[in-house]
Subunit: 311 residues, 2 copies
């Protein structure tokens, strides 16, 4: 089952995909269900069966073109993200990380946007190194604390593609990533949540990032160092995982060398990481996970000195 | 003006303090106002005048003993926190930090609790180094992006005491603080929000931390390295500050030597920081800011292996 979060005439909705582009809106198929995916997950076990029953035989009378997609979980309670969770990425930037404990940090939900929505490149006067990071996102269903590894997968409601967009200059300002991972609307999260029964074994799928159609990252998800169950077990030692919480499981290395199509772009990575290609307004960035789908985000320019502060 | 967030019979409320212990509930004095402090701040400029007018001459028929205090902003949208923002704290742990950019990270609101509520010490099988960190919390009123320093203070709705409780073992697991700053209910945030007109110049006030009545930290807030306006200016370069957002402005060094009362407690700080006294169940930790108030939290034991996961 693939579930989307969307807005139609500014009203939030949840839909069940029936093919690559059409979906059944739950607002009509199952009006008794809450209106957001997070609330549906909060309603407890059985949501998947309820939805399956509700949409069976219903007309998929809406397509993705009719709506605006939100992040898969629009107002995530928590977005945990991992640093350095693939060996190749550790090697390319030559930074030490613990082999015993995952390196985790928080993203703010305001830094996310949905499939086909623009991700925002800062004005060059603010920063110039805006980078994609293709990742598998895990979405929590059943809440829990102190979750043993062998029961961790029971807490997964589904999976999505995540582009963990990063402003390198700000990430490098100090020891904590802080603001570099939290510029407004710099991450893509979509296109949908696929349930585990449909996605099956994540570690047999490929994670691919393309910029303007050109491959820039490619790895088998099985190369992930801290596996999904390790991360859930670890986080739940201190934090109670809640329905709709998101875990972005980390990105892999760049492909090298830099393709000729990007030869004119300066490498502004603080560590001059090989193969670096920063995103620019007008680009289109895609994160594909085989068996799951493709998250696509155009890159738009954030206006200089934009000030949303009302006087 | 001092405003509290509380629960009475499980209903959230906002109150205006009239002396050290009594308050006027806004639910009766100004029923037209929203029911949470965050929503009041979101209602825009003029909230302080509206409240002042509404409570003038009204009876303060409730006392702090009648209610349970919540964190000053119970469900904060964002809690930004600063590392290494006092020279003495940098020296005692001998860690490098940028002189140009503040070191910022995010706390999850679930890691917070209110005045007089217990903060939770992990079971010794999980971690043993549970540390207080006394800080000044700044609460954002007016939203804004790209806020110039000279206008930053217009965005401050008020101030509170913050005990930025930390699990040192987890903080030290890896490069990002991650989980060490985000155990459930490990930070105190209270007792109230004091508005800038009443608090006046923060940099002339003292920040004090006491464990079981014994002073452990003491600094003039004027020693802060990145000042409030610097931090607001910095964060707003990437993130749109929103009403009710919290900024914990960093902690200062420990007082040394370790007082004889705590001589029997082992120093489990990963860097063996001098003067370290970890908190234990049964302790009472206080953060006082002169001219503002005292935040007090008893330390309670978290049960071992507590599992909130419903089957």
């Amino acid at each position: 089952m693939r579930l989307i979060s969307y807005r139609l005439n500014d009203e939030p909705g949840v839909g069940v995909m029936t093919d690559a582009t059409h979906f059944v809106p739950l607002a009509t198929a199952a009006p008794q269900l809450p209106r957001t995916l997070r609330s549906i997950l909060e309603s407890g076990d059985g949501w998947q069966q309820t939805i399956a029953k509700a949409v069976a035989g219903k007309a998929s009378n809406l397509s993705l073109d009719d709506v605006e997609l939100d992040p898969v979980i629009p107002e995530s309670n928590a977005v945990w993200a991992l640093a350095l969770n693939y060996v190749g990425h550790q090697k390319e930037i030559n930074l030490k990380t613990s082999a015993l404990y995952p390196q985790v940090f928080l993203r703010h939900p305001a830094s996310q946007t949905g499939h086909d929505q623009p991700i925002l490149c800062p004005h060059p006067s603010v920063a110039r190194a805006f980078d994609y990071e293709a990742e598998l996102a895990v979405i929590i269903g059943k809440p829990g604390r102190n979750i043993p590894k062998e029961r961790a997968m029971e807490h997964v409601a589904g999976y999505a593609c995540y582009n963990e967009g990063t402003i390198r200059e700000y990430q490098g300002h100090n020891r904590q990533f802080g603001l570099g991972k939290n510029f407004e609307q710099t991450a893509g999260f979509g296109p949908w949540m696929m349930t585990p029964d449909e996605f099956k074994n994540p570690y047999q799928q490929m994670l691919v990032c393309r910029l303007n159609g050109i491959e820039r990252q490619k790895i088998c998800l099985g190369e992930m160092l801290f596996k999904i169950e390790d991360i859930i077990h670890y986080l739940s030692q201190g934090y109670r995982l809640r329905p709709g919480d998101v875990i972005a499981t980390g990105t892999c290395e760049q492909m090298t060398p830099t393709p000729p199509e990007f030869a004119d772009r300066p490498n502004l990575h603080p560590l001059k990481k090989e193969g670096t290609v920063h995103m620019m307004p007008g680009d289109v960035c895609e994160v594909e996970i085989t068996g799951l789908g493709v998250l696509r985000n155009p890159v738009a320019a954030e206006p200089a000195g934009a000030d949303y502060s009302p006087d």
